[in-house]
Amino acid sequence: MSTNTNAIETERLSKRYGRRTALDDCTVAIPTGHVVGLVGANGAGKSTLLQLAVGLLEPTDGTITVLGGRPGAGPAQLARVGFLAQDAPVYGNLTVGDHLQLGERLNPGWDRALARRRIERFGLDPRQRAGRLSGGQRSQLALTIAIGKRPELLLLDEPVASLDPLARREFLADLMQLAAEHQPTVVLSSHLLSDVERVCDHVVVLAGGRVRVAGDVDDLLASHKVLTGARTVSTALPPGQTAISASHTDRQTTLLIRTAGPVHDPRWQVSDVGLEELVLAYMSADVPARSLAAVGP
């Protein structure tokens, strides 16, 4: 399932549009063999990172390597990466069948049987114009094209943002089945944390164009704790522990910390942290991104 190359590796990657900075000095390594959640607020740079990875955008500074190659460098590199753009664009005046033809003619590794099966499963009529499909059907069609080329890496830009809850659930269930069957590395961006928690086993948190934290979900959950104590307790932490966020009431202090080992200080009540809480803490954390980016097991 996994090889030694990273799916995506960036080194001081920056992307600016005119004076607006979308990605700022990002260094991150996303391993293969996972379903990776790229989370962050709107405008955090998720879409920019994905488009850089598929070669739709060029970096302003720094480098990005995808499956060991330069994004979009040639047909071979393009064939290895599947991409589902935000809002799942399709050609409105071409039929569903035309789109399958498109996939087949533009991709040497096209899996016709897989594509046909998916179209049938979702009840899509090959003669129907893509412009008449519902949002969920359009997403399934676009995903079918992205998957039909049998990529090693599948990049999905906000795939469920525009879907109703039922279509969203179906989409994710189908995606997970695909991950179980064909085992591509999947990177999906989303601002819906509950979805990410469900389907992702690795997360990258972006905020303000920077990588705040990245790692395996289990490692992250194991290495973070919530400490609750009286307001009077000093928030100075021993070495090996870093506060990510702190909140206070008149009586109580709550800290979310990253820690290498167990917390022994008896003045704190220690509890586990959920992924959502952890991600939110990093998204709003006002700490230098660089010191947080690397979290090991």
Partner: protein, 134 residues
């Protein structure tokens, strides 16, 4: 062969890691006798298609069950239940349930409403878990 001996539910707002939820639900089913020795657990593909979760999560849950000696994977066939929890726990279950019932009556007599009882239980439960960990 009939699929779906057991159906999992994943609640992403519970704060419990999804793989833990699966492990707990299998244990619960074993305790209640819904699963018996020799039953096949749903395949990874079936689970992810049903509840839309990461396949690695299901694998991890099944590994945990194997580690606990409750299930065993047979290559190419699937994962099967190897031990039941029903018999052993049922008797203790009864006694404990009776004890808890008596405790609940006491709590109500002391003037606690349902929410307070739940909060008290939760707090005590967590405190005892923390003691175990420390």
């Amino acid at each position: 062969m009939e699929f779906g001996v057991i159906e999992f539910r994943i609640d992403t707002h519970s704060g419990v890691a999804p793989y833990r939820q699966i492990v707990q639900q299998v244990r619960q089913a074993l305790r209640l006798g819904l699963l018996e020795e020799g039953d096949q657990l749903p395949t990874v593909k079936e689970v992810v298609a049903q509840v839309a979760i990461n396949p690695n999560t299901v694998l991890k849950a099944y590994r945990e069950l194997e580690h606990e000696g409750l299930a065993a994977g047979r290559p190419g066939l699937g994962t099967f239940v190897t031990r039941s929890l029903a018999d052993g726990s049922l008797g203790a279950h009864k006694a404990l349930a009776a004890e808890l019932g008596r405790w609940l009556q006491k709590a109500r007599r002391a003037g606690l409403d349902d929410d307070s009882i739940a909060a008290l239980f939760e707090r005590t439960f967590r405190a005892s878990m923390n003691e175990d960990v420390a």
